[in-house]
């Protein structure tokens, strides 16, 4: 198959050999599981159980709420000890609402559980619903609820379903092992997903440094129409969905549009596996395969772990730490996040746990930029990190926006190649944080303005009604008192919407409304003004 070119990218050392050749092993069930209610993009799930409840394996712990959300299920049977604040797997380590489940080791499935009906007979929207009920989210790290993605993509005719098996991050090999060991299930999952999207064809993209995975997937896909397994060059960030779209279809997704709008949908292999498990085995997303690696890990390997397992449990199973790691990372080394300590749980989106030594991190002293332009060459988006960083150093957010900092995908290519070891991504994340805050503030101001305007209008209409009544009364009085005055008052009663005496207030109110629209900063003053008016 002909591939199209793409821009930028880097070649970090793959370092997958320590884990890629060992089969996935299963972690023994930990004594306690910590399930944060927010393991996905969107609204946090709403707890369905209360402390002290006995739950079965696969039972719903928390229901999804809102448009974009995903439910959380019990990975094993046991007792809910508490629903409390617990450190999140996030660099800050700040607490989030978490269901703490004490397992009983029996792994009891709910007695009500039955094997699902034939998934092939389901209609596309039914598949999306089932996937949503199973709590499946994007397993590549994005953690966007898969059901929502399937539903949104249905609004467009989908031409090509791309399955992302590139796994471009160094160290990680969990997708590689998944493709090698569970290829038939993956192919089923791909076919079901393609059906759910009504996609004409599906393409599995695997980086060419994973020949075994490619062979396994090709063998499993043999004889299936419109299902291609292709090799793509090993170059980070090949796993960026828009990169894959560009290299496979030769098209780019317009800024602000969904990939479905150009007829493409990208899903990760891990997600497709979870979809297959949900539809064919009726198992919600209870566990995932992770890579435990890094120089400080005694026995690096791939593990299937229940969601909610603590990082410390996983490290203990892998023989503990050889040395004090310089960085403890959840996810890959290029886009993963530092975790503050080992006492945080693994969540649905965690693709790996890395304990990196100082030698591996190789984070030399930061020096001034020499404008070597390696970051410009490496950026897959086409940004100029050197210029954005120069502006952000002076806290010139608008200057950075002019250079497109809002388009940054945080792939870390620029920081990776920087010979001056400038933490460029840190700068850009800061800028995006500030932009988020600004957006929130603007939205708030907009809401306040709308509310103030509504109040003005309400008060004005009340006043108008009052004036109308008053006018009617005086008119009646006038009618009764002197017959001569009838002619004079007639024009006022002609137009009941604009009573003569209310006219003055009406124009004043209009002036005030124009004033509000012109000046946002003085929103708080406006209710006072209207009080004075009335």
């Amino acid at each position: 198959m002909k591939l199209f070119g793409f821009r930028g990218g880097v070649h970090p050392e793959a370092l997958k050999q320590h884990t890629a050749d060992h089969p996935i092993s299963t972690l023994p069930l930990p004594a306690a599981l910590y399930l944060p209610l927010q393991q996905h993009v969107g609204e946090p799930a709403e707890p369905e159980v209360s402390p002290g409840d006995y739950v079965y394996k696969g039972q719903l712990l928390a229901r999804s709420q809102g448009q974009i959300s995903a439910p959380v299920h019990a990975p094993s049977s046991g007792t809910v000890v508490a629903i409390d604040e617990f450190p999140a797997p996030h660099p800050s380590g700040l607490p989030v609402k978490t269901v703490i489940l004490e397992t009983d080791g029996k792994d009891h499935w709910s007695p009500a559980w039955t094997t699902p009906t034939d998934p092939w007979s389901l209609r596309p929207e039914e598949i999306a619903r089932e996937v949503g009920l199973a709590g499946v989210v994007g397993m590549g790290g994005a953690t966007f609820p898969s059901a929502v993605k399937l539903g949104q993509s249905l609004q467009y005719p989908i031409h090509n379903l791309i399955i992302n098996g590139s796994e471009c991050e160094p160290y990680l090999s969990c997708d590689d092992r998944l493709m090698r060991e569970r290829a038939p299930q993956l192919i089923d999952g791909i076919r079901l997903t393609a059906h759910a999207l009504q996609a004409k064809q599906a393409t599995v993209a695997i980086e060419d440094n994973k020949p075994e995975a490619f062979a396994a997937m090709s063998a499993a896909a043999k004889g299936i129409n419109q299902l291609n397994v292709i090799r793509v060059p090993s170059r980070y960030p090949m796993g960026w969905d828009k990169q894959l779209i560009r290299i496979i279809t030769g098209r780019e997704v317009p800024v602000g549009a969904r990939s479905a709008s150009i007829g493409v949908c990208v899903h990760n292999v891990g997600t497709v596996y979870a979809i297959q498990q949900a539809l064919c085995a009726g198992t919600p997303l209870l566990s995932r395969v992770i890579t435990v690696a890094g120089g400080a890990i005694a026995k690096p390997q791939n593990l299937e772990v229940p969601v909610g397992t603590l990082v410390s449990e996983v490290i203990k199973y892998c023989g503990g730490l050889n040395e004090e790691p310089a960085r403890l990372v959840m996810g890959g080394p290029m886009m993963g996040q530092i975790v503050p300590h080992t006492g945080v749980p693994l969540v649905k989106g965690s693709s790996g746990v890395l304990a990196l030594t100082a030698r591996e991190v190789d984070d030399g002293p930061e020096r001034p930029c020499i404008r070597c332009r390696r970051c410009v060459e490496a950026c897959p988006v086409g940004l100029m990190p050197v210029e954005m960083a120069a502006r952000l150093r002076a806290d010139d957010i608008d200057g950075a926006v002019d250079y497109g900092v809002q388009d940054c995908i945080g792939c870390s290519c620029c920081s990776y190649v920087c010979p001056a070891k400038i933490p460029l991504v840190q700068y850009f994340n800061y800028a995006r944080g500030v932009l988020d805050c600004r957006q929130t503030a603007t939205r708030k101001a907009q809401q306040t303005r709308e509310m103030a305007l509504a109040r003005q209008q309400r008060l004005a209409s009340q006043q108008a009604a009052r004036d109308a009544r008053k006018a009617a009364k005086t008119e009646d009085k006038a009618k009764n008192n002197t017959k001569n005055n009838i002619k004079n008052t007639r024009p006022a009663s002609k137009n009941p919407d604009r009573p003569a005496s209310g006219d003055d207030a009406g124009t004043q109110h209009k002036g005030a409304a124009a004033n509000i629209i012109a000046t946002d900063s003085r929103v708080t003053d406006i209710p006072l003004q209207s009080e004075q008016l009335s």
Partner: protein
């Protein structure tokens, strides 16, 4: 439980560092330096030594007075690189104070006044060279014929010290004009060019470096080898030297074909003066050239065109240094206007349009109906 400092990705880094980049460039310059010492003897060695040493002292002075950490900055090699490039652009028999003034100007005014490494808008070596040329035109255009080390014509060690430190004129007999200088003088006297070039321009000598000229600018061949080594090491892209040499070649060829009696041949332009050194070591300076691919092409083309213009119609025989400085001044402008196209956007920054057939297909597409029971969360 160890609490680590939050730090954004990446958590692995490329092993390349600023000092190693500078070292690579210094390695690429070493054959030229050695050849300069061989060709011009002890005075050349004196000048190079003086430039490097004084640059080091000025660097320490500047870092100390601005309160920057000495250990990180002094060993990054950028000051050494500037000093070496400056030394290579000096006339071989220049006096000691030329070297020290030049180094001082390059390091203090060319670099640290703007905030140190990476902040200078102009190439420090070229800035110092131009400053010296304007301030001390006699010393800066006092060229000597090459006299290889240990040959009979070469100055001895003592004589070399005398040349550098006492401005001894004992070797006045060796004075020679550069090909570019000669050309300018003779053309102004109305002599026909054809005859002139045959007299003193031998392309082979010029590319091997057997002519009079600045220390490191004579051997185009060695410079090109150093430059190709850097290209292979990916220190710079091919765009800058290629566009620079390309535009110079194009303009000089066009002029030469149109009027060979007035304009010098393209080969003459490419092999004489500082063109080769500039193409691989000055124009490619990352700090003072644009970041984007198209910007680099623009910058190189501008340098080449200005060099040709200054050489042909300007008052100075050599125009490379002026051309580079002029284009350095344009770099911020180029970086502001010439940017790469961003993903999903057109060059103007608006979202790209979806293909027409896609929109037509969408128009006729009906979304599968939701089942009556479904659509809840």
């Amino acid at each position: 439980m160890k609490i680590s400092i939050p730090q954004a990705a990446p958590h692995v880094r490329n092993p390349g560092r600023v000092p190693s980049l500078m070292t690579t460039v210094l390695i690429a310059l070493s054959p030229i330096t050695l050849f300069a010492v061989y060709q011009f003897g002890w005075p050349a060695l004196n000048l190079i030594g003086l430039c490097l040493l004084s640059a080091l002292l000025f660097e320490i002075l500047c870092l100390y007075s601005t309160g920057k950490p000495l250990d990180t900055y002094i060993l990054d090699g950028s000051g050494m690189l500037t000093a070496l490039l400056l030394a290579l652009s000096l006339p071989p028999h220049a006096p000691w104070w030329i070297a020290i003034c030049g180094s001082g100007f390059a390091i203090i005014v060319g670099k640290h006044v703007y905030g140190g490494i990476g902040q200078n808008p102009f190439n420090p070596a070229m800035l110092a060279r131009v400053a010296l040329l304007l301030s001390f035109p006699v010393e800066m255009t006092h060229w000597t014929q090459a006299a290889p080390l240990l040959s009979t014509a070469a100055p001895s060690f003592i004589e070399g010290l005398q040349i550098t430190f006492q401005s001894s004129t004992a070797f006045d007999g060796l004075t020679a004009a550069t090909t570019l200088g000669q050309l300018k003088t003779d053309l102004s006297q109305g002599l026909p060019l054809q005859q002139l070039t045959e007299q003193y321009f031998q392309p082979l000598d010029s590319s091997l470096g057997l002519t009079a000229g600045s220390l490191g600018e004579t051997s185009s061949l060695l410079i090109a080898i150093g430059g190709l080594y850097l290209l292979r090491q990916r220190i710079f892209s091919w765009r800058l030297p290629t566009s620079f040499l390309g535009s110079l070649l194009l303009l000089s060829t066009t002029a030469w074909i149109l009027a060979p009696e007035i304009y010098a041949s393209p080969l003459f332009h490419l092999t004489s003066g500082g063109v080769m050194l500039a193409a691989f070591f000055i124009v490619t300076d990352p700090v003072t050239s644009p970041c984007t691919r198209r910007g680099q092409l623009l910058f190189g083309t501008g340098c080449g065109a200005l060099t040709f213009v200054i050489r042909t119609w300007g008052g100075y025989p050599e125009g490379v240094a002026f051309a580079v400085l002029l284009m350095n001044a344009m770099t911020p402008l180029i970086d502001h206007y010439v940017r790469p196209r961003r993903y999903g956007r057109s060059r103007t920054g608006t979202p790209i349009k979806r293909p027409l057939w896609r929109r037509i297909r969408e128009f006729f597409y009906t979304q599968p109906k939701s089942p009556s029971s479904g659509s809840d969360k």
